[in-house]
Amino acid sequence: MSRDIEAGASRVRFRATGFNPRANPLAAWGSFVVVIALWQLGSSTGFISELAMPSPVAVASALWKLIISGDLWRHLSASLQRLFGGWIIGTVAGLAVGFLVGMFSWARSPGVAMVSALFPIPKIALLPLFIIWFGIGEPSKFATIAFGVFFPTVINTFGGVDNVARNLIRMGQSFDMPMMSIVRKIILPGALPTILSGFRISSSIAIILLIAAEMIGAQYGIGAFILAAGNLYQTDQLIAGVVVLSLLGLCVSWLLGRLDRWLLAWR
């Protein structure tokens, strides 16, 4: 190197540093461990009061009690039925409307207008109406979740249909493919990735709405459990319930990931 500089030549300087943050799974898990350890430390030393935030150990033990008492399964099975039922209803209806809006001029503007007007309404505001419409039993819980799932599914589905590359549809038309073939062989698979990614959104909305749904006279269910714990200021149970919801969310997203990989292997 020194010889180079003597000769009036120097090495070209490397200048593309930074701006390339890398994912590091170890750091991700590490950060969880550190946060939980600090939190436990704060609780143990009394720095964080037990009322303000139960210690991780307290949450774990609440969770453990929930498991061994068998209550967890009772709550979980009640909630899963509602989640699944509501999600299916909302998704089927949303897909149907979404495809209509995506493909037909007559459905487009009215559909988009209605969806944009109704989507932003907070579902929790409508609970009293749902109770009147569907009673206080399971139907109104299904309805709450289905309602929450319906609108994003419509939006995603017609977005997916819109995003099917126009050139592929033109290609189909240029080969005189019949309308139904184009829908089945081009539009449907072309919209699938968007629809599947919409499932992620709608499933997390369903999980969030579980709490609202179980506000309506539910004896069992993770949402009802969280609400009861909140009412009684049993914060350890409350957080245990939230942890269960989060794990539920992770499971659902893992399942959707599998579905993705299976259906979208061509990507």
Partner: protein, 319 residues
């Protein structure tokens, strides 16, 4: 075969006559196959009847109840709790901070905040009723709707609200533990018909005999309740009767069931408010309540109490 009926209820002492009637077989005696469904809040009990999910219910009167009763075909046929000068009812509590700052009696409430569960709830009405009778403007008190009783207690304990009104079995331990001060009783501002027994118009129209049977069984439960839990000596102090132990055991199956008898029984006794004989309803007070709610805009002006009160099963309470 026994007629099936579905009763909507809260797991509170206020529903004790139902539990007594169920456990002592009064429903069965009337050839009724009764099933009790529990709810977490008062409002859904009314909705359950309106939507025909249940046949009978007992719950407190609220603005929402009256609106629903008028629009949804509910019929009030009897009484639930009643504030009576002779028995402890709901208490008015002041937080420690407010008490020390001078909130020692009810007429000093103006300028202070008070926790209620929801706008148009019975708590809201009680504040209004007290304000009326004590002679101050309800607007001079700052309402804090906190959605639930635990939130109200938490806010009072931490001094975030100055006062609240709460049932005796919560008020007494709170005061005893030094978390607040009782500065008055709602019973001093009577009459107050706290809640009612009700069914749907459809049941009255289509199954009048079943309603009558249910009412008879319920009244038997009320009689047992009064005999066991409302017996007083000459000084007006509550005393135990022969049946007290038996009734406490029955009620304990439904209320505070997860606690043991030693802690639960005093709570049940504290919570056992007055119920009129034969569950007679104070119709005039209900009308007065509706009027108050209407004045505040909480109940639609078109609501007429006469349209949802049916005294043909249980005569109204005499003035």
């Amino acid at each position: 075969a026994a007629e099936k009926i579905n009763i909507a209820s809260l797991a509170f002492v206020s529903s004790a006559p139902l539990f007594i009637a169920q456990e002592k077989g009064y429903f069965a005696d009337e050839d009724l196959d009764a099933e009790i469904t529990f709810f977490q809040a008062a409002q859904p009990v009314a909705v359950a009847i309106a939507s025909n999910d249940a046949d009978f219910g007992v719950t407190a009167f609220t603005g929402g109840f009256f609106n629903l009763a008028a629009k949804g075909g509910l019929r009030v046929i009897g009484a639930q709790l009643h504030e009576d000068a002779g028995y402890d009812g709901s208490a008015i509590l002041a937080s420690n901070a407010a008490f020390e700052a001078g909130l020692t009696s009810v007429d000093q409430l103006p300028g202070h905040s008070i926790a209620i569960s929801q706008v148009g709830s019975s708590f809201h009405y009680m504040v209004g009723n007290i304000a009326d009778k004590a002679g101050f403007e309800i607007d001079s008190i700052e309402m804090k709707p906190l959605q639930s009783v635990p939130n109200m207690i938490g806010a009072l304990k931490s001094g975030q609200v100055d006062s609240m009104i709460i049932v005796p079995h919560i008020a007494k331990p709170l005061a005893a533990s030094g978390a607040g001060h009782i500065i008055g009783w709602v019973k001093d501002y009577v009459p107050y018909q706290v809640g009612g027994l009700f069914t749907s118009q459809r049941n009255i129209d289509e199954r009048r005999d079943v309603v009558a049977k249910f009412v008879r069984a319920y009244q038997k439960g009320v009689a047992d309740y009064r005999a066991a839990l409302l017996m007083t000596d000459e000084a007006g102090k509550l005393i135990e009767s022969d049946s007290t132990a038996e009734i406490l055991e029955i009620v304990h199956k439904y209320v505070y069931a997860e606690e043991d008898a030693k802690t639960a029984y005093p709570k049940i006794r504290n919570g056992a408010m007055f119920i009129t004989e034969e569950a007679r309803l104070n119709v005039a007070d209900v009308a007065a309540q509706v009027k108050w709610y209407q004045a505040g805009g909480f109940v639609d002006a078109s609501v007429d109490p006469a349209s949802f009160i049916d005294t043909s099963f249980i005569p109204a309470l005499a003035e």
